[in-house]
């Protein structure tokens, strides 16, 4: 039974992570890419919570809390950067932002 639950969690989180990754890699819309990142973080968090319970490990739960905090910070920074780019007239297409190109 427990094995089944673990397998289910892996399937769900794996799908969730794959979706997030796909959003990041395939989409060029900045907001969509940010959402993709959030999805990947969420997937990792779910897996962590499940395994924390499985091994009764409090440190893992603490890590989850930190990840949530970091994700929130990341969202704030990311969104504000996107907003800044948008205001500067850069649009929201990652393909257009190629100033790094040598």
């Amino acid at each position: 039974m427990t094995l089944d639950l673990t397998a289910a969690v892996w399937v769900v989180t794996g799908a969730l992570f794959a979706l997030g990754l796909a959003a990041c890699v395939l989409r060029r819309q900045l907001l969509a890419m940010l959402l993709g990142i959030e999805l990947m973080i969420a997937a990792a968090n779910v897996a962590l919570v499940h395994h924390a319970g499985l091994f009764s490990d409090a440190e893992a739960l603490a890590a989850v809390a930190i990840v949530i905090a970091v994700a929130a910070a990341e969202a704030v920074v990311g969104l504000s950067l996107i907003l800044r780019v948008h205001r500067m007239g850069g649009g929201l297409d990652a393909g257009e932002l190629s100033e790094l190109r040598g």
Binding site: C24, V25, A94, G95, L97, S98, E99, L100, R101
Partner: protein
């Protein structure tokens, strides 16, 4: 310790010229440049007195070799400079001091009014000082130091009238050719250090036996190569005829006393080394004899007074080499001394003639019949010419006869070569005498230029020198006594000053033959200048190929010129094409290569975040794959 009775003259020999030069540079140049010669002439007087004192000291059988101060010292090895006084140094020093001082006096008149009067005298005296130092050196490194100093001083003097292109070229030629010779000296000194662990002459003399013959041969060859440059022997003689571009006193000093005698002196100094190499003496004798004959022939074809005399010097240095190579070192030194006198007279007389024409040198086209206008100069010239041609009882007779005798006894072609040189010498010097002072011929501008006898300051020294050129041959026994004494600390059996010909030595058969050949040469000169007065101009017109042949010194000059051009072109190729264009171009081109590579990589980096994410994904996959395996 320097023996206390000669400490003062030794100090004076170095101290007086140094003080005079420094005083002239720092004081006279500002206050009274036209009086620069006074302290220097005072120094000359001191040098003469000291040299005479030292010569008497050595003649009495004394000598010393004293290191005075350490020049360089590293670890267990050091070079000490000092003073060595023995037969050759005392004898040659006496001649150099006397002849050189008289030329200084002459120069005071000759250079009067020249804007560079101060500069001339300072460098001139430096030249003199360098030669004195060279003669008194007791160590090869010290000898090399003064040897180079002689070279630099001659460079500055030959190039003294630097606004003339010919003077600049001649100065450069003189210095660079000598530098090529110095390569041999430098290598020899280094090898001497390697083989003997010391460069002190005396220690080298004592330990020469039993050293590696190959290295000894290399050392002897290097020294001879250096002597070939300084003493103007084939193959390096070609700078000397050009070096007359300097003021005449320079030429006189250079040819008679200071510069060209240094090479012969070096070989005299190194005789034990040369003697230890089988065949070396023979080779020196042959090169000397060949140079002597070639230069004697060429001297008979040259048109410039000083140039004739320059080739004559080359010829006589060849005779010295001949004597030296045959082992008659004493005879070589004796001829060196005698030659110093008559060659100085000849140059100074030529200078007087040129001075009368207000030129730095004179061509045979511009002279003729100067006998009446310049009687004193004429008389001196005659004495010196007789001495040079080897006519009894003038000085040249004794030294030349000894050389001819040595060559004759050696046998074979060398004896006949010597006789031919004897005839050639008489020919060119009498040709010069007749063309300059007798005549004038139709081709010559002659005395129309109103020549006049020079001032006393320019004739009296010449008279003294001419007196020397007449009588110094009778001093032969004195010279021989001097030469063979003063060899302290040299063990028996070391051939320092060999030669079995006692001086004055008259082998009647050889003397008669030599005189006959000289008479032949003189007679030919008389015939071709007086009897058939236009001959000198005619053959040039009729046989331009011969003129070209002689002008290029039988082609050797052209060969040297080609070599020099080759080196310059090599420098141009290496410096401009190879180094700058090819090699540096290649290295600078490497930045272009980096740019091409960068452009290639740039295509993969378009700056799109999604692309980078794909890369990241791929990387993560690889890492995961490796971690899980």
């Amino acid at each position: 310790m320097i023996p206390p009775e000669v400490a003062l003259p030794v100090k004076l020999l170095f101290g007086a010229p140094t003080a005079a030069i420094l005083f002239g540079f720092f004081v006279m140049r500002r206050l009274k440049p036209e009086w620069t010669h006074w302290p220097i002439l005072a120094s000359c007087a001191a040098v003469c007195a000291s040299a005479a004192w030292l010569a008497a000291f050595v003649h009495a059988g004394h000598g010393f070799d004293q290191p005075l101060w350490t020049w360089a010292m590293v670890g267990d090895w050091g070079v000490a400079f000092g003073v060595r006084l023995d037969g050759p140094s005392a004898a040659v020093l006496a001649m150099v001091a006397f002849v050189g001082s008289l030329i200084h006096v002459y120069a005071a008149g000759y250079m009067k009014g020249d804007p560079g009067f101060n500069r001339f005298f300072l460098v001139f005296h430096l030249f003199f000082l360098a030669m004195i130092g060279l003669l008194l050196s007791n160590d090869y490194v010290q000898l090399y130091l003064f040897w180079e100093l002689v070279g630099v001083a001659s460079y500055l003097l030959v190039g003294f009238w630097w606004h003339k292109e010919s003077a600049r070229k001649a100065a450069l030629k003189a210095f660079l050719t000598n530098r090529v010779g110095d390569l041999g000296f430098l290598v020899s000194v280094v090898l001497i250090l390697l083989v003997f662990k010391t460069t002190r002459l005396q220690l080298v003399y004592m330990t020469v036996a039993g050293k590696q013959p190959e290295l000894l041969a290399l050392i002897a060859f290097g020294l001879f190569w250096a002597a070939c440059a300084k003493s103007a022997q084939w193959p390096l003689y070609w700078w000397l005829p050009d070096a007359m571009e300097g003021p005449t006193p320079t030429s006189a000093l250079m040819h008679a006393a200071t510069m060209v005698t240094a090479g012969v002196f070096l070989l005299v100094r190194s005789w034990p080394l040369i003697d230890a190499v089988p065949g070396m003496g023979e080779a020196i004798a042959w090169i000397g004899a060949g140079t002597a004959l070639g230069a004697a022939v060429l001297a008979g074809t040259k048109r410039d007074l000083k140039q004739v005399l320059a080739y004559s010097t080359v010829s006589h240095l060849g005779l010295m080499m001949l004597a030296l190579g045959l082992g008659q070192v004493g005879v070589a030194v004796f001829h060196l001394i005698v030659h110093g006198f008559f060659k100085a007279v000849l140059f100074l007389c030529a200078g007087n003639v040129a001075h009368a024409l207000h030129q730095s040198t004179a061509s045979i086209d511009q002279v003729g019949g100067f006998r009446r206008a310049m009687p004193l100069t004429y008389a001196c010239f005659v004495v010196a010419a007789l001495s040079l041609a080897g006519v009894f009882p003038f000085a040249g007779f004794f030294s030349k006869d000894a050389i001819l005798d040595a060559a004759w006894h050696h046998g074979g072609a060398l004896g006949w070569l010597g006789m031919a040189v004897s005839a050639g010498s008489a020919f060119y010097v009498f040709r010069l005498l007749f063309l300059t002072f007798h005549g004038a011929r139709a081709e010559q501008t002659g005395p129309a230029a109103h020549p006049h006898e020079a001032d006393a300051v320019m004739t009296v020294p010449v008279v003294f020198l001419a007196a020397g050129a007449a009588v110094v041959g009778w001093l032969g026994p004195m010279v021989v006594t001097t030469l063979s004494s003063g060899w302290t600390h040299v063990p028996q059996g070391v051939p320092v000053m060999p030669g079995d010909i006692a001086l004055p030595h008259v082998n009647y058969a050889v003397a008669a033959m030599g005189t006959a050949f000289a008479a032949l040469g003189a007679g030919a000169a008389w015939w071709l200048t007086m009897k058939d007065a236009g001959w000198d101009w005619r053959w040039r017109r009729e046989a331009p190929w011969a003129d070209r042949l002689y002008a290029s010194d039988f082609g050797w000059k052209s060969l040297c010129d080609a070599f020099v051009r080759g080196v310059v072109r090599l420098g141009g190729f290496v410096g401009v094409v190879l180094d700058k264009r090819w090699w540096d171009g290649l290295l600078e081109g490497s930045t272009a290569a980096a740019r091409v590579a960068g452009d290639a990589v740039e295509r993969a980096a378009l700056g799109r975040v999604n692309d980078y994410l794909w890369w990241m994904l791929a990387g993560t996959a690889i890492l995961l794959g490796r971690a899980l395996r």
